[in-house]
């Protein structure tokens, strides 16, 4: 009986640890390492990245949601820490620029093809 209980607790513990690690990886892949060149926190081995990884995994264990963690980190480091920032007043051009250029390009192509006809 004791052995069964031990196995159940062991399996449950390892599944939970995997879940924490998976979520830590998922979150840190979307965080910019501010002291590195173009690397995410997940990829980097810098002191800063290590601190953030430990911090994120601690917050997950404290049952914080991904949004709570992103909100906390952006309140401390600004949107610069996110690789995929939310749609906001500051970032609207970033999100809409591709669509804007696509529409302009399509307009010119359309006009040109009409001219040729």
């Amino acid at each position: 009986m004791k052995l069964y209980l031990f196995i159940i607790f062991f399996l449950f513990g390892s599944v939970h640890a995997d879940e924490v690690q998976d979520r830590t990886n998922l979150i840190t892949k979307n965080l910019r390492c501010l002291v590195c060149e173009g690397q995410s926190v997940y990829e980097s081995n810098s002191d800063f990245a290590k601190d953030i990884k430990i911090f994120v995994s601690k917050k997950i264990k404290e049952n914080k949601t991904n949004e709570d963690i992103y909100n906390f980190l952006t309140s401390k480091y600004g949107d610069e820490i996110l690789f995929n920032p939310d749609f906001s007043k500051k970032s609207f051009f970033l999100w809409l620029a591709p669509l804007f250029f696509f529409v302009i390009g399509a307009f010119f192509i359309f006009r040109r093809s009409n001219e040729i006809k």
Binding site: L34, V35, I54, F55, S75, K76
Partner: protein, 172 residues
Amino acid sequence: MYLEKKYKISLLIFFSLIAFYFFYSSLFKEKKITPRAMIGNKIPNLQSQTLFKDEILAFSNVVKDEKFVVNIFASWCAPCKIEHPFLMELKKNKIKIIGINYKDNQKNAKAFIKKYQNPYEKILIDENGALSIQLGAFGVPETFLVDKNFIIIEKHIGPIDKNFIKKAVNLK
């Protein structure tokens, strides 16, 4: 028709030159990001164990109703040695400095202070970098100028200089 073609080509050259200028100038720009999210916000009242005494202190236990400076440092950090005389100058100007000893060996940190003199009112230990994250810091040295209402006025990444001292002294 000929004029229109000429106009189009000049427009294309003009925009290409602008694009070239932006890409070329960005090659020489320093790519360091300086997050300013914390400036204008209240500094968290962090607490931790102090370096020289076996006591746990918060910022509010060290400073009361006065401006102060928070400096993140480590004995293994070479630029911290460069900025040390400036910290001593701040102390001479009667500005309290709270040190955050970042991921350091306590013995080395004490030896560092003994060798270069102690500009700090109190030194809090940041064993795993958790305090620095609360401050939105990402390295050493990093220094914050805080007013008497605990609002962060200035954040300086790298060794502080004469300008920082001037700002600290002039802050009411």
